[in-house]
Every structure is written in structure tokens, then in C-alpha cells.
Symmetry: D2
Subunit: 365 residues, 4 copies
């Protein structure tokens, strides 16, 4: 057996989320611990977010059919949290593991097949990607829905949208109101209508080519009170990035000016403090709402780079671990040509969870 | 008093680092807990890295004069770790807090003055930036030096270099050997000699203009065994990004292809598995050595965006918190026009600490 | 809402157990994270221990009828752990919450009704004691069964027995073999046959008097390798006591000589080192197998004081929180006159979990 | 190197204490993280408690001469906590390691010499007991002094006293006021004057016989608000016992009725709820102020069994690890014939730290 034990699957200090389940197992679920007793939670709160993440919504996504019905099995009574751990699950229905037998010996490029095999010495559940499947983000989405309920009374709101697909760039720096008005109008979840159209075409072109395409999701949190975050070693960026990087396919995370800051001078980048309606704000927001790892009261803004989905239908070079020879794999099954649109509610969920944890650590909920 | 207590300043699960001290207090230091008993550590191991981070090395850096002599006060006997917590300190000498009085009422744009004041209700040590000062990265560097000693017998080596300053880009994707040969030859720590010269000029131009300039540091870890990282929620990217974002001025972190992945197709991005000398490797390394959050045996590669130093000598708009009116601040003192070169050993230290923690969690040290 | 969030219900560092569910909710369960991939686990392993804890086994226990069928919903494939979190549940069946309405306003002496109400501001699930019910120890027992599977290949075995009920004392200091031979022969789970008979009478007398009676459980762990435990602050005693005190009704925990050590001289108490078959052992075991917080290779021995069950059928004085006046409560329902016999498998489970965590932290599994 | 890394030496969730240093190293100290910014702390607060723990106070204690001067090196400015980690140290002066050479090969019965050697593979600092020395409780005492400052404004006060030495029992169940009036009047720190005299004689008799003697310390915390403690798995008993068992020589911990509960009936043990001055209290306090793991507003009462000091001056049987033969050791040096009196301030410190953590987790400080 590998040393050091199996993996540890809990995130958070005060608002704690444990992910469990497998793509083709009985359930996908989460345990949320730390939700304040009395917090109102409806099954529809979870369902609404699950429905946004659910597959089969358009031609841009996988055709796997799953009802993804949220159930809460503990910690919940008469529509409110009781203070005990909340177990949320969805049951897996449309499972067809037959196509995954090949994967055990011929790891798919870009997937966790190879590393999972090494780490778990062949003992992990590889069916449908097992615990590495993007399907487990449904659990994040349920936990995120609970986090949102906790954030709402504090005045914190979170919204994300697609700002890049392939080489198509959409407008950045929108307010939540602007995002909300338009994000669900297009299957790519881009709040910039012109770009959205072209993004859609980019996805369909990739799909046509039996290929996939990547993109960037931008997320904004408004109403975040100043003072969240713990320097050395829980700055807001660290806590958010930690959780965001747990989302499969994320390759980059940047805050405010992000990598653009590298090309700037301090005089451009520093956000001057100004008074607005008697309140201290900053004139610009290159900081992304965070100074010294601590929120400054401005919107928290970050972007997440999502790689092109690893499951493509072109033949790919791999190594056959049974024969010890180089080989080729052709992936079958139902897969998203672009996971960016479905990543949007997942990124929102991650942001909500991380902010709920930071807020709870400051006694704000 | 603020609710939820003060900040918690410890990183790591098995190899644990606590940062302590202040820029103008008595000491800056760290406690390293989890170093295996018997691990050989010399004061010179710490000193070598401290000397690389130390100010006053060239015209490109601040002129603050500090000996930065490493001392180990516990957990260390006859040149080896004993298994007890290791307390490392440097003493602060060249302190001149007079210039910081203004900061208490007129927060500097881009600094933590404002957020620290809110979070700690005026009770934090603001002298020289207190615990938010870049000077505390010296503590990270000492902990990183210990981490390197732990990593060496496993065969893990880490090196970083500057790949961008302002709009000057240098070569990326070098091996550690290539980096080591040239990185210390130029004050900007860029291993690409042509770019290095132009980067140097960019820094001097910013300095001349009483301004500062940002950049990007790339870091490579070679010899990382496959199987490190814990999915949901300690993937390698999460653990590294968590610590990297604790370094002041970091605005972005990306792995492998990073934000470039957004514009790619799956067929380009997926790294094909190949056999090299009987070993399974990948032909390319867009994954940055990490698949499904777990190391795959290829070099771990990431880049860090560093914003232009917030301390510039131009007058800047701020709000006077005493008068409640908009005001102007002119920063005095000794400051780096570009912190990227000094960030290089800090990024290496952070990488070493994060990898040491991941390795120790797998029982590898 | 109370500050600081709800409770956090996870134990362990490397072998982590989260408890969830409520006495009269849908399920009682646990999530076990950290079980090594490949660890063989059968449903019957869980069921065997659940059956030992199950109510309705004799006249000495409550007559609540529950099948307590173990189900594993995740992290488990083909009879082995996969490395993903293991979700185990039992479903609640014989629920009759009608008798608990009174408890919401008239807290039962000795129960958590009053403190739960204060802590959760009336939002906790009080039905059947909710998450405070002794029924949740079924979750511990399932986690303990998994822990035992992990301990077995290391050679660690754990057994407990009743050594006191009321004023009846049974033999102490038995080996696991001696305990196993006789512990299940009597309903009080006392391995000393003479005492067992008298303990049984003590329980029946308490039952007859509509009262309850307390006792002491002794637990032995054999085959524990030397070197487990982390001084400052995870000595073996701390880790075990931490978990043992989470078992409802536990009022005391002592190791080796325990409180008896107070009356001893050092020359009596110190266990001399001797050679036995070439191995270093101690001639006596007042240390209970632990020196300086670290196991010394001798059996780990501890005792747990269990208070008399709080649910008795005599009228008791309480305060009516609705009327704000002193009042009387008469508890109805099905309750154990003595919970000590059913505590035996629970104490074993707690010991197994704590030792599994300590062993896994040392890379032993 | 041993797997799983070295030990981890931090206690607490919100109020976190790391212990560092060695008996004969340069310093003994602690890092306190989580003290609210603005908390008033004076060096004299630390010194007062250190002086109570300090050796050489009477014939009942060791004659090692140490000034034990508290220093605070970080996180402290103008007499208050800044919110950054607080590093407290005392320097070791009266070190004579010559007497400890023998210990490396001939482990002392009852000491950690043998287990430390195994765990750290001979790499630990054995001089004067190293990190296992009772001297490290000075670090706990400093952290406890800071915890007390945090508890005072909440109204929580803590006091301990000796209630047993050898077979001499003193009065139990006193209020803090009663304890304070008399506890420092006698060298044994027993608040019951008649018993104190006889305890003193018991210690002197043990000393005369080149032997040592054990005892019991009782501790009371008054003013503890209802609602502290987290069920499954941080009940108040678990958190307190965890820390108390980290104190060297502790063999038992019991709350309220403790082991006495085993012999009681429920009708005796259950504490009836009553109204006192309009407040809900319990008529008796067998629960020790804790119901269901949560404080109920009554005084928290617990007792700690302290074994006779392991260092005695009689010849003792041991094994010579160099020769592999049974051997004899005669301990030299300066040692306490009874450590119970000096354990009193240490137990108070542990209680204060644990309660500070629980209070901070509830947002009370």
C-alpha cells in the first residue's frame, strides 16, 4: 500500500466541504460542515445550480443524461441547517462503464488515468474517471449553493461568465448586474453578445473536428466586506486559488490585473484611494479587491484559465501499460467539446465556498 | 476586538512552516516543524539563500543594509534536525521607522496599510510594513533552504528565473541546468542573456522615472516523482498556488501551458504518452508535470506574475483617514524599483516548501 | 446566528472520520478519508461490529428495534477501498419522535437538550437527541471496523471489556485472548465470570428501580509498535482521550496506572526495562504502553468511566424554558438501564480509529 | 529517516500554540497565534506565572537555578498583541549536560529516553530530556498567561490546587476564591491547610527515601459561558484532555464526578435543573459544567492524575542498549521529589489555553 494513506478530501477551516463519490459509483455528494444552524436552505437552491451545471443542455455539451436530483440526508430540518454536518447527494443513473475498460491499460493523454494508477496502485475506481471525473464538480456546486445562502445576508454576491473561448475574447470587467442580464442567454455563458456568437462557432468547429477547445472564465464577487483574508498563509488569493485549482482542467488563476501586471509600471498599477459618497474606495481595481491578501471592500475579481477538454475523438498516442509498448487510443463515449460554459457555475460555487469560509472565520455569518 | 481571532500563520500538513516577526521589530523568523530527525542542515545552507534575497546587491534593489545572519535556536544539534520544531531567526538592524508615521493615516496605494488597519483595528505593527513587509520573505527563504535539504535525497531540485520584466520577455522552458548556468550572471536573474540586458534597462528606466516595474518568474522542479498531490482538495497546483499567493505582489499563477491553454485545442494541448528509455513520459509538457492534480514524473513548471512594486517615489492620491479628506502621499525610504529579481529565490523557496510538504505526506522523506 | 459557525465533526490527521446523521433523521453515517487504496473491506466487517452495538440484544439494553444494516456508498469497489472517501450509512427505521416534543421546553437532566438549545439557538434537531444521541456511536463503530482492517496487517489488535458496573468490580489487566474468550458470554461484556453475574444483577436492580447505573470499560491494544505518538501535542494519550471523550457519557479516561499513580512512589511506578527473548520490554506496565507520549511496544492499556445513563424513568426536577418556572419531567421511551455493555464495542472502535490515525501518520499502513 | 516526518507541535484551532526548544538547548519558547490584535499583554503577566512554575522554590522541588526571564520577540508592540504571531522565549542558563551521557545507552525507567531513541532514531536532543523535559512546560505557562488575558474580559477565571499527594487527600470542590486564598500558602499548593501539612511530609519522606511521590491536581474554571465546545469531535472534555495529556507525567483526566460516576445511579448523578436568581443552573455539578460536550454555564471542574516523578535516586533496572545486556542505572542531577505542586500552574495554563481556543472559536474574544 502507498505510504501516507489515501487522499484527504476536505476544504475549508470554518465552512468545511468534503467531496465524495465517483462518476460511475452510486452517488456523487458532499458533506458541508460549519453551516450556521438556522440557515435557510431549500432543495431548489441546490437544484437551480445543479441544473446550470447539468450535461445535455445544448449541442455544446456532453449528451450524458442525468437528472442530477439533489437530496439532503442529514443536518437539515424544516428547511434550515441544524448545525450538524449536511450530507448532500445526487445518484448516478446514466452509467455505461463498458467504454472505460481500455483506459485501465492505455491512459488517455491529458487525463488522470496514468497518475491515478500510479498513486493508487491500480486500486482506484477508474470507471468514468472515478473521483477525478468532472462529474464531481456537481458536489462542489451543491456546496456552493449552501455557501451562497450564507453569503447572501452578508451582502456578498458572486457571478462568473466566459471571457475567452479559443482565440475569441469577450468583454471583461463587467458588474454582476451586467453579467446576470446576459450570461444565460447564450450556451457559452458569455455576457458579451457579439463575442458569444463567435465563441459558439469556435466550439462547434472544434466539435466538428472531433477536437475540443479551451477558454477563460472571469468571476466577480461584489459586496465583500473589507478585512477578509489571513496573511501568512491564508490570503484571499491563496484560499480562492487553492479551491479553484481543484477544479479539473484549470491551468491558471489570476487576480485583478493578473499577468497583465507584469508589463505595468507602479504608477499605473497602484489603485489610488478616493472618497466616494464618504466611503474609501479605489479609483481603479488592479488589485482585484485584495491588498496584502486582505479584501479592501472593492469587488474581488479573478480569472481562471480552462484547458481544452482532454477527451477528444481523434486517435491519440499513448503507452499500453499491459504490453509496455507505445500504442494509440481512440476515446469513445459522450464528452464536452468545450467545458468552459459548464465551468461557469462551478467557478461561482468555488468562489462562494472560499468566501463563505473566509467570512465565517471572521465571525460574519 | 475583531471576531474570529488574529491571523493564523502556518502553512503545510506534514512539513509545517510558521512565519513570524516584523520588518522593524526585533526579528524575522520561522518555525519549521516536521523536518525529519537526522536531516543535515548547515547555517550556510540558510545563509546562501538569504544572501540571494538580501537587499543592497545592486542598483536594481533597495539600499537597506541588513546582514541577515541566520540563527537556529531550537530543534538543531550537531548539524542535524532533531525532530523538534526548528526556530530560525534573523535580527533586524537597519531600522528607521520614522518615515512610516505618515502611513498610519495616509495609506499607500497598492500596500496593505489600509486593509491591515481595518482588519487589526489599528493595532497592527505598521512600522516598515510590519508583518506585511516583503522582508518577511526572508523567513520563507530560510524555511525553503531546509526544505531543499529534505528534497535533495529524493532527487527533487528547484530553480527559478526571470522571464519577463515590463514588456521585455525572456526565454521560457529552460532546464534547471540551463537556468543555473546563467541566472546569477545578471542582476535581473534572467537566464536569457539578451533579454537580461534589456530587462536591466527597463528596471533602470523605471527607477529613473521614480517608478517601478513588474515581471514574471518561471520556476521548474525536476526529479519530482510521480504520485505527489491529493485530489479534492490538495492537488499539486492548489498547494503550490496557495503558498505562492502568500508572497507579496503575486497577482497570477499558472502551470504548464497556463493561460495559453485557453486558445488551444485538445489535440494540441494533450501531452501524448511516449516511452523514453523504457520509462513512460509525455512528449510535450503542457500539463506542467501535473495530471489530475497529481505529479506525472515530468518537470513541474509554473509561472508567477509579480506586480510592479507598490512603493514608488511619485506623488500618489490617497485618503487621509485622520481628516477624512482626499490627500496626497510621497513615499520616502529605500525601495526596490523592481522586486522580480529578489522574488526569484523566494519563489524557489515557496516551491521547495510546498514540494517538501507533498513529499513528506507521501512518506518520501 | 451564533458566531464562529456550526460544529466541526471530523477526527484525525491521516485517517480522518467525519460523523453525520441524527437519531431520528434519515441516516446515521460516517465518511472515512485516508483508508489506503486496496484495503480489503467487507460489509460483514462493519455489520459484525454494528451487531455488537445494536440495541435490543438483551433485557439489559433498550428495546428500540433497528436492523442497522451497513451500506457503503462511495470509495469502495470490488471489496476494497479505492483511495476516495468512504461513505458508510445505516438508515433509521424505528423512529418515534412524538415522545421528544416535551424535551424542547423541559430539558432532561444529564442530557444535551439544554446546551444544544443554547448553542444552536433552538435550530438543532432534538428528535431522539438528534446528533447528540448515543445512536451516532453506530457511525463510530463502522469507522472503527475499517480502522481494524487497516491495523490487522500491522499486527495491532484491540479488545475491551467491562471491569466495573456500579459497585461491582471485575478483573483487570487481562490479555486480549483472555478477554475474547469470555467477553461475549455475558450480556454485561465482562470477561470475569463471577463479577459478570453480579454486574448483571446490578443492572437489573437499577432497571427495576426505574434507574440506571454506570461503570468502567477497560481496553487493551496489543501489537502496537514502538514509536507511535507525537509529543507536543499529539501524544498517544491525547489522541485516544480526545476521541474517547467524544463518546457520550464518558466522564474519565486513564492510562496504565491512571489515578492509582497518585498514591504510588516512583520506585513502584517506574517500569524497569528488561530483556525478554532478546527484546527490550518493561517488567511491569504502569505506563500503559506509553512513555513520553510515545508507544514503547508494550500493550496500550486504558480505562474509561461511563456515567449512568441519563435517561431514567423516575420523575426529575428541571426548568420549563417556555414558562420560565421549575417543573418536573418524566422520561418515556426505550432506554438502556446501563450503557456500559454497549459502550464496549464503541470504545474498541474509538481505540482502533485513533491508533489507525497514529499508525498512518507514521507511514505504517 | 522515519516515515511521516517529525512531530507536529501545535495545539489549537483559533488560539494556536506551538511549543519549541529543549531543556539544554538555547531557549524554551512558544509561538502564540490567534491572540486578538489589541490584547493587552505585559511581560509581568508571563513572569508571574513562570515564577510559580520555576524550580528552586522550596525543598520540595529541584534545585536547578534558572532565572526564567520571559522575552517577547514578535507580535507585540506598546504592550499589546498586534495580530501577528507572538514568539515568547526564556533562555536556558543552568545547563549541565554531562550527567546525561549515560542516558543515551541506558534509558531511565519511566522516562522518554527509550521511546525518543526509537522514534527519532537516535537523532533527538537527549540532553536534559530535550524536548521531552518537564522544563518545556514553561512554554505552556507563557502561552497560558496570554490565554488568561484573553479570557479575563469574557469573565472566565481558572485556578488549580493539589488535592492528593501519595495517600494524603485534601478537600475537593472548592471555589476559585477559596483556592486563591490558600493555595500559595504552602509549598504543596494544597488549599486545604490540614492536608497540606501532611502532603508536605509525604513529599519530604519520599525525598528522604531517594524516591518520589505522585498526586492529583484539581482545576476549576468559573465564568465559562454556556455553549462552548463542538460535538463530534471537539467536546470540551476532548479539547481539555488533549492538552492536559501533553503535560509530562499525566496518567488520568476526569471531569465532574469522573471515575466516581461508575458507582452511581442515574438518579444520583443527573444534575437537576433549577432556577437561581432567574438563571437556569444545576443543583449539583456531577457533569463538571459540561453536557453533551458543551458547557452548561456551571463551573468546569476536572482532575488530573500526576504520576510520581520518574527521576529517583535509587538504583533501577534497565537495559544497556550498547551492550545489549540488562544493567542498572543510578540517576544523578537535580530533580523534584514531587512534581505535583509545580504542575498546578501548568494545569491552569493548559486549561486557559484550551478554553481560549474554544472561546475564540465561538467568536467570544
Amino acid at each position: 500500500m502507498p505510504l501516507g494513506g489515501g487522499p484527504l478530501n476536505t476544504f475549508g477551516t470554518a465552512f468545511r466541504v468534503t467531496i465524495l463519490g465517483e462518476s460511475h459509483g452510486q452517488v456523487v455528494g458532499c458533506v458541508v460542515d460549519g453551516a450556521p444552524p438556522g440557515l435557510r436552505i431549500g432543495l431548489q437552491d441546490l437544484q437551480r445550480e445543479l441544473d446550470r451545471r447539468r450535461p445535455g443542455q445544448s449541442l455544446l455539451t456532453t449528451q450524458r443524461q442525468e437528472a442530477d436530483r439533489a437530496e439532503i440526508l442529514s443536518g437539515w430540518l424544516d428547511g434550515h441547517a441544524t448545525g450538524a454536518p449536511i450530507l448532500c447527494i445526487i445518484r448516478n443513473e446514466d452509467k455505461d462503464s463498458s467504454k472505460y475498460a481500455e483506459v485501465a491499460v492505455k491512459p488517455r493523454p491529458g487525463h488522470a488515468d496514468y497518475t491515478a494508477r500510479l498513486k493508487y496502485e491500480g486500486m482506484s475506481d477508474l470507471r468514468g474517471g472515478g473521483m477525478f471525473s468532472g462529474r464531481l464538480t456537481a458536489a462542489l456546486v451543491m456546496a456552493g449553493a449552501i455557501a451562497r445562502k450564507l453569503l447572501a445576508p452578508i451582502g456578498i454576491d458572486v457571478a462568473a461568465h466566459t471571457v475567452q473561448v479559443g482565440d475569441v475574447h469577450g468583454g471583461r470587467g463587467m458588474t454582476i448586474r451586467q453579467i446576470r442580464e446576459r450570461v444565460e442567454a447564450t450556451p457559452v455563458r458569455c455576457a458579451d453578445p457579439t463575442a458569444a456568437k463567435r465563441m459558439e462557432q469556435a466550439v462547434l468547429a472544434a466539435r466538428e473536428a472531433k477536437d475540443s477547445v479551451g477558454g477563460v472564465v472571469e468571476c466577480v464577487a461584489e459586496g465583500v466586506p473589507a478585512g477578509l483574508g489571513e496573511p501568512w498563509f491564508d490570503p484571499v488569493e491563496s484560499v480562492l486559488a487553492h479551491l479553484l485549482y481543484a477544479i479539473p482542467a484549470v491551468k491558471g488563476v489570476e487576480f485583478g490585473s493578473g499577468f497583465g501586471a507584469a508589463a505595468m509600471r507602479g504608477s499605473q498599477h497602484n489603485d489610488p484611494f478616493v472618497l466616494r459618497g464618504g466611503r474609501v474606495e479605489t479609483a481603479t481595481n488592479n488589485a482585484g479587491g485584495i491588498l496584502g491578501g486582505i479584501t479592501d471592500g472593492m469587488p474581488v475579481v479573478f480569472r481562471v484559465a480552462v484547458k481544452p477538454a482532454s477527451s477528444i475523438f481523434l486517435p491519440q498516442a499513448t503507452v499500453n501499460l499491459a504490453t509496455g509498448k507505445e500504442d494509440t487510443i481512440e476515446i469513445k463515449g459522450r464528452h464536452d467539446p468545450c467545458i468552459v460554459p459548464r465551468a461557469v457555475p462551478v467557478v461561482e460555487a468555488a468562489a462562494a465556498i472560499a468566501l463563505a469560509d473566509l467570512a465565517l472565520r471572521r465571525g460574519l455569518a
